[in-house]
């Protein structure tokens, strides 16, 4: 696959403190890549360096094989959908979308603007101002504005964080569908692992400025390269260097007949989660394990003697 964006040993320090530390990463053309990690892990700084708002202290950034470290933001063919969208409040939707095209000195961009607005389903709202739009509509204007320039890489900074929680899942799917349709490389920053897992082709997990792992969602979730990645992407029951995710844990009153890893213990707490039940179990060995089971699997009371078991193939080994 063709590489569109490449980072080689990129570092950034603010006042001597490393924020991004020797990150190397390459992004393939057309992929939807998520940079994720807890707040302060350097993901937004990384994005700002690609956009040109920060200059790396060390390392090089290549776009289409050309080093762009010294290029100012307005000469890089990458565009950003900002966290709070940064729509120009004094311009209409149409003027916002046209802004970048005018900078490029293009003429006859009317058709392009129309297409882009249609793509994000904003047709008919061309003459509204940002303060006359809903949160979801504003986001779509920001995406349209960035898409209109047909960038090599379109970057999204926490694209769903400003949206109503109810809207997020829906927009997530729309965003993915949109990316597939236009085929432009998306580089997205998020602190929400669920968002990263469900949306992207590949995920990069960062912590304290350092790259922890890059890979497909299934790969990083099921075969995390270290404990941080495993914990960041979801809960893990650690037993020494072996970990089992709660959804891979089974709980039953009877001893399972399968060939499986089995422990015995008692139910210490049950939590009803709606779509599942979370069981805290206290093993006879004194360990605590958390299991997430379907409520169809039977009813459990605190103090019930149970068997907790899982398949070796579901273990995470570091």
């Amino acid at each position: 696959m063709e590489t569109v964006l490449e980072l080689r040993g990129v570092s950034k320090e603010f006042g001597g403190a490393p924020v991004v530390d020797n990150v190397s990463l390459s992004i393939a053309r057309g992929e939807l890549h998520a940079l994720c990690g807890p707040s302060g892990c350097g993901k937004t700084t990384l994005l700002r360096m690609v956009a040109g708002f920060e200059t790396p202290t060390a390392g090089e950034i290549y776009l289409n094989g050309r080093a762009i470290n010294q290029e100012p933001p307005y000469r890089r063919n990458v565009t950003t959908v900002f966290q709070n969208y940064a729509l120009f409040p004094h311009m209409t939707v149409q003027a916002n979308v046209e802004f970048g095209l005018k900078q490029k000195g293009l003429r006859d961009f009317g058709e392009r603007v129309r297409q882009v607005l249609e793509l994000v389903q904003l047709t008919g709202l061309e003459h509204r101002r940002p303060d006359q739009l809903s949160g979801g509509q504003r986001q779509r204007v920001a995406i349209a504005r960035a898409l209109a320039l047909e960038p090599d890489v379109l970057m999204l900074d926490e694209p769903l964080s400003a949206l109503d929680p109810n809207l997020r899942k829906q927009v997530r799917q729309e965003l993915k569908a949109l990316q597939r349709r236009v085929g432009i490389t998306f580089l997205m920053v998020t602190h929400d692992q669920e968002e990263a897992l469900s949306l992207s082709d590949r995920i990069t997990v960062l912590d304290r400025g350092q790259l922890q792992q890059t890979g497909a969602p299934q790969q990083v979730y099921l075969q995390p390269s270290n404990r941080f990645v495993a914990d960041f992407l979801g809960t893990v029951n650690w037993m020494g260097s072996i970990g089992v995710r709660p959804e891979a844990m089974r709980v039953s009153h009877e001893r399972p007949v399968h060939d499986a890893q089995v422990r015995t213990g008692r139910v210490a707490a049950t939590t009803f989660l709606g779509d599942a039940i979370q069981l805290e179990t206290l093993l006879d060995t004194g360990e605590r394990l958390t299991a997430q089971v379907s409520r169809l699997n039977g009813a459990f009371q605190n103090g019930d003697a149970v068997h907790v078991w899982w398949h070796s193939s579901d273990e995470i080994t570091l």
Binding site: G52, P73, Y74, V78, T80, A86, F88, H90
Partner: protein, 252 residues
């Protein structure tokens, strides 16, 4: 307690506004003394007929307009620069100029001009007054425009540059349009403080540049004058209107 406060407020507002109100009423007095003898507009026509007065007023308008253009232009650019980058000495210097007693600013400028005139073949006049006014009103512009800038989202300019705009173009197309109400308010403020200034102006003015406040001052020192009442009324209404307009812009 609220009733007591209300009564007090009436008294306080009377203290603030009655003197000017009474003065305005007496500008319509037919008598030249402070004894009411019926309504008349004769002091207003006397005012309009006074050539020296009209010339002073014209001088004041010219000076105020020039100072407004200069201070607003330089101050707006400066505020924008300070919004982007902290320059401690410049900020400090501007604040110091804001709190300097007028008389000190005035004598310092006078001393500076006299010193500079040793090397230049110029004299005190309208130009020295204009420069002085630009100088002391610069800080006002910076304060007003900067407070407006602080309400703007700095990410907007990044967004503009991200979409291909150069820094100048981003300023011109994105920041300036949103800044205009603040700039206009600053300009009106400069106009009024420049038009109104007596202390500094009287020190750096030349023989050809008597301003309206200078004329008002010398008349007031000589004694009561019903024409002065009329001038005052016109100025209070005019400048007051301008300021109300400016405040409305600042809130916009």
């Amino acid at each position: 307690m609220n009733r007591a406060l209300g009564l007090y407020a009436i008294a306080a507002y009377s203290f603030l506004h009655l003197p000017l109100l009474v003065l305005s009423v007496f500008s319509f007095n037919a008598s030249r003394f402070t004894r009411w003898e019926g309504w008349s507009l004769k002091w207003y026509s006397a005012m309009a007929a006074d050539a020296a007065l009209m010339e002073a007023a014209a001088n004041s308008v010219i000076i105020a307009l020039a100072a407004t253009v200069g201070a607003t232009l330089v101050g707006t650019l400066c505020a924008y620069g300070l919004w982007k980058r902290r320059v401690a000495w410049l900020t400090g210097s501007l604040y110091l100029s804001l709190v300097s007693p007028e008389i000190v600013t005035g004598v310092a400028l006078l001393a500076f001009y006299q010193w500079a005139f040793r090397f230049l073949d110029v004299q005190l006049g309208m130009h020295t007054v204009v420069l002085a006014h630009v100088s002391f009103s610069l800080a006002y512009v910076v304060v007003v425009v900067l407070s407006r800038l602080r309400t703007l989202d700095p990410v907007l300019e990044e967004a503009a540059m991200d979409l291909g705009a150069t820094p100048w173009w981003a300023f011109y197309r994105v920041t300036l349009p949103q800044l205009l109400p603040g700039v206009a308010a600053a300009a009106l403020l400069v106009f009024t403080i420049s038009f109104d200034d007596y202390v500094i102006t009287s020190l750096v003015a030349g023989v050809d540049s008597e301003t309206l406040p200078m004329l008002i001052y010398s008349t007031a020192r000589r004694g009561a004058s019903p024409v002065l009442n009329a001038i005052s009324t016109v100025l209070v209404v005019g400048l007051g209107g301008l300021i109300l307009f400016a405040e409305r812009l600042r809130e916009a």
